[in-house]
Amino acid sequence: MSVKLLAFATPEQEMLVDTTARFIEKTLPLAKVRELAESAGNPDTDYVQTASSLGWFGLLVDEAHGGGSASGNGLLDAAAVGAERGAVLQPGPFVGLNVVAHALSADGPRHGALLERLVAGQTRATWVAGTVGGLTPGPGEIVARSDGDGYVVDGEVRLVHDVAGCETLLVSALGPGGPVQVLIGADAAGVEVRALSGLDVTRRVCAVRLRGVQARADAVVGVPGAPTEARLRQQLAVAAVLCAAESAGAMHTEFETALEYAKARIAFGRPIGSFQAIKHLLADTSLSLEMAKGLVAAAAEALGEGRPDGIELAHAAKAFVAERGVELAHACFQVFGGIGYTWEHDHHLFMRRLAADAVAFGSADWHRGRLAEQIGAD
C-alpha cells in the first residue's frame, strides 16, 4: 500500500519507493514497530545498514561522498522515502541523519570521511537543533563560548530525535558572533543524553545536555555568523519537509484504515460509510490528505531544486501538515468509534505520531510566524 507521495514518479523513483516499501514491510511492519515500542527499543544495526544500501542516507549527498539521488532532486526522492516510512511509523534514523548529511555535504570535503561513513550506514549522527535551529516553543538552547580557536558549549535541548546509537551530534549553538555549528561526539566528556517519556511511543526522543563540552576548531561546520544563519534556515527547511513527508505517510495509512472500516462496519443494518455524516467526513479528510501530499511534494521539489520559493513552501508544508495531520487523526478516530479508544487498535499510534510530528522541527504556529515575518518585506 504505497503512499504515492509523488503523483508522477520516474522509473528510478518508483524503484526507490518500491524497494523502500518492501524493505519496511519485511523488516519492520507495524506489528514489529509496536513490539519495539513496548520494549522502548530502537531499530538494530542491520536495519540501518540495509536502509543505507537502499540509499536512504545519501540522497542529499553528492556522489563523491557515496551519495546520489534517484531523480536528480534528492530532496524529492527523500520525501518519497519519508512518506513510505511514515506510513508504517518507522522510528529513526532518518530526518536527523539526513539533515546532518545535508549540512556536511554543503561543507565540501572538510568532513568528508564522516559523511561517507554516515551515507554507508557505518555510523549514525543526529541534529541537536534547539531554539537556535528554529525549534520552538521551548526546546531549550545551547550557547558556545570561544575557547582558543575552538569553542566550549553548554546548554540543554529537549526533543532530540534518533539519538540512540548515534556516535556524533551536530549541535547548533549561539556563539559570540552569531550562530555556530559544531560536531560533538555523543560520548564526549560533558555530554549527557536522557531518554524522555513521550506522546509518540513509536519514536523515542531524548534530552541532550552539554556541560562545558569542548569543540575544537576542526569540529566546526561551515562559517560561524551570517553564513551559518543562512545554512540553518536551509537545514530547518529540509528537516521540516522530511518530517512533513513522514507525517503525510502516517496520514495516508490512518485514513486508509478508517476508510476500510467505514465500508465494513455495520450499524442500523447498513455499512456506516453509507451515512452521509461519515461519507462527508471522509471526503473532507481525503481532501486534506490530497492537499498535504501535493504540498509536501511541491515543497520538496522547490527546495531540492534550490528555487527561491523553496524555504517559503517548506514553512507552508510543515504548517499545513502539522495541523491537518492532527485533524485527520481526530476525524478517523470518530469513524472508528469505541474501537479507536483501545490500545490494541493501531489508531492511537498514528494519532500520537501525528501530534508529536506536529511539534517536531517547528510547530504550525512557529512556521506561520516565519511566513508572517515575510509579509510586506518585498
Binding site: L135, T136, P137, G138, P139, R158, L159, R194, A195, L196, S197, G198, L199, D200, V205, A207, I266, A267, F268, G269, R270, P271, S274, F275, A277, I278, V326, H330, F333, Q334, G337, G338, G340, Y341, T342, W343, E344, H347, H348, M351, R352, A355, A356, A358, V359, A360, S363, A364, D365
Partner: protein, 432 residues
C-alpha cells in the same frame, strides 16, 4: 423534566424539617464527621484499587447511616423522601469535604442507573436494590454496548432466553467502564428475535460475580484500563432481575439516555462550576512552559475561555428549557452531549499548541508533563462514549429541529432479518 428520583408521594414531604434547620444540622454533621478534601485532587489514572473501593464504601456507609445519601429517594427504598432543595443544601455544606469517590462506576450508579431504576423497576426490585446501592454495597455499571452494536443500541445481540422459571443470558458486552471493580451490570438483552429490533429488548440486573460472567479489562488509548469486556456463558437470571417489562426495554432505554447524556462536560473540558478567572488549567499550563507572556498563547487561552463560558451558559439554558418543555428533555440533552463532543477535541488541540515541546516529551514520571498529552488522547471521550456526535446530531436534526427523518432500513422488520440483509447491503430499501 420530571425527576423520577424524587418521592412520588407528597406524603413524603409532610414531616420535612425547615430547610434552615436541616442545613444547620447537615453542617454540624459534616464538620464533625468528614475530612477536608485535599486542595488539588490527585491525578487519577484509570485504576481503582480494591483498597480505594473499600474506603469509598466505608465512607458511603457513614453518609447513608446519617441519612445524607438518597436524600430525595423515597423512604421505602432507603432514602429520606425530601425535596431536591434539601439535597442541594447538603451538597453546599459538604463542599470542600471528602465525599466517597467510586470512580467512573460511581457516576454511572448514582447518575444513570438509580434514576432509571426508580422510573421503571418494580417496587419489589427497588426495595431489594436501592437501599444497598445507597449504602455503597452495590455498585452498578452499564452493560449496554456490544462488539457489534454501539450507536445502534437497539441492535444488541446478547440474548436472554426463557427456560422455565429462569432466564439464560449469553453473549458479550464491551466498553463497560469500571466493570472490574463493580458488583452489578445493568444489561440490555434481546429476548425476542422475531419482532422489530426496538420491541424485542429487556433490561436485566446482572450480578458480576455470577457463574458464567467473565470480565476482561481492556487497555485503552492512554494505557489505562478503565473499561472492560464481559462474556456471558449461560448466566442464570430470574424475573426478579428484570428492570421494566419484558420486551419493554426501549422505553427504559429512553429514560436511561436522558441521564446518560445529561452530563454536559466531559473529560478534559472545563469544570461545570464556573472557575475563578480565565481557563485556569490552560493558564497554569502556559505558566509551566514559560509562555504566559506569549501573545499567541494568550489569544488561545482567551479563545478557550469564550467557548467555556458559552458552554456553561448552554447548560444553564438547557436546564431552563427542559423544565419548560419536559417532553423534549431527552432530545435537548443531546445539545449538552454534543457540546462536549464538539468542543472538547479542539480545546485539547489548543492545549497541545500551548504546551508545545513539553506536551510531547517529558521526563519519566513527570505527571504534569503527561497530563496535556493524556488530555489530548482522551479528548474524544464525549464525541464517542454514550452516543457519538453523529447520533446526537441525528437526534437534534429530527427530534428538535423537526427535519424529515432518514429512511430506516431496519426498524420495520424482524431483527433476525436485519442481520441477514445487512450482509448484502445494496443501498435500496428492504425488498428493493
Amino acid at each position: 423534566m420530571t425527576d423520577p428520583s424524587t418521592d412520588p408521594s407528597p406524603a413524603g414531604h409532610v414531616d420535612a424539617p425547615p430547610l434552615d434547620d436541616y442545613r444547620a444540622r447537615a453542617r454540624a454533621w459534616v464538620e464533625a464527621n468528614l475530612e477536608r478534601a485535599p486542595q488539588t485532587r490527585p491525578a487519577r489514572g484509570g485504576d481503582m484499587t480494591p483498597q480505594a473501593v473499600t474506603e469509598a464504601r466505608a465512607l458511603q456507609r457513614r453518609l447513608y447511616d446519617a441519612g445524607y445519601v438518597g436524600i430525595t429517594v423515597a423512604r421505602a427504598y432507603g432514602g429520606q423522601g425530601l425535596g431536591p432543595e434539601y439535597e442541594r443544601a447538603f451538597h453546599e455544606e459538604a463542599r470542600g469535604y471528602r465525599l466517597p469517590d467510586f470512580g467512573i462506576a460511581g457516576g454511572t450508579t448514582f447518575g444513570v442507573v438509580v434514576p432509571t431504576m426508580l422510573a421503571h423497576a418494580a417496587p419489589a426490585f427497588l426495595r431489594r436494590h436501592i437501599p444497598k446501592i445507597l449504602a455503597g454495597e452495590e455498585l452498578f455499571v452499564e452493560f449496554f454496548s456490544e462488539p457489534d452494536a454501539g450507536s445502534d443500541l437497539a441492535g444488541v445481540r446478547s440474548q436472554a432466553v426463557r427456560d422455565g422459571e429462569r432466564w439464560v443470558l449469553s453473549g458479550s458486552k464491551i466498553w463497560s467502564s469500571g466493570a472490574y471493580y463493580a458488583d452489578w451490570g445493568m444489561c440490555l438483552a434481546r429476548t425476542n428475535w422475531d419482532v422489530p429490533k426496538h420491541r424485542g429488548l429487556t433490561w436485566f440486573a446482572v450480578p458480576i460475580a455470577a457463574k458464567g460472567v467473565t470480565v476482561q479489562r481492556i487497555r485503552q488509548i492512554t494505557g489505562d484500563a478503565e473499561f472492560c469486556q464481559e462474556f456471558f456463558d449461560d448466566v442464570e437470571l430470574t424475573d426478579d432481575d428484570i428492570i421494566g417489562g419484558v420486551g419493554d426495554g426501549w422505553t427504559v432505554t429512553q429514560t436511561m439516555l436522558i441521564y446518560e447524556r445529561g452530563g454536559g462536560f466531559g473529560h478534559g473540558g472545563p469544570a461545570r462550576q464556573a472557575p475563578k478567572g480565565i481557563a485556569p488549567d490552560l493558564v497554569e499550563l502556559a505558566r509551566s512552559v514559560g509562555r504566559l507572556d506569549d501573545p499567541t498563547a494568550r489569544d488561545l487561552i482567551a479563545r478557550a475561555h469564550v467557548d467555556d463560558v458559552a458552554r456553561r451558559a448552554l447548560l444553564a439554558r438547557l436546564g431552563g428549557r427542559m423544565r419548560a418543555e419536559p417532553g423534549q428533555a431527552m432530545h435537548l440533552a443531546s445539545y449538552a452531549k454534543l457540546a462536549s463532543g464538539v468542543f472538547d477535541p479542539p480545546r485539547a488541540n489548543l492545549a497541545m499548541r500551548i504546551g508545545g515541546s513539553d506536551a510531547v516529551a517529558w521526563d519519566d514520571g513527570d505527571e504534569a508533563g503527561a497530563r496535556t498529552a493524556n488530555g489530548f488522547l482522551n479528548s474524544r471521550f464525549m464525541s464517542i462514549a454514550g452516543g457519538t456526535n453523529e447520533v446526537q446530531r441525528n437526534g437534534i436534526g429530527e427530534r428538535v429541529l423537526g427535519l424529515p427523518r432518514e429512511p430506516s432500513f431496519d426498524s420495520g422488520k424482524p431483527f433476525r432479518e436485519v442481520l441477514r440483509d445487512a450482509r448484502s447491503w445494496t443501498g435500496r430499501p428492504a425488498g428493493g
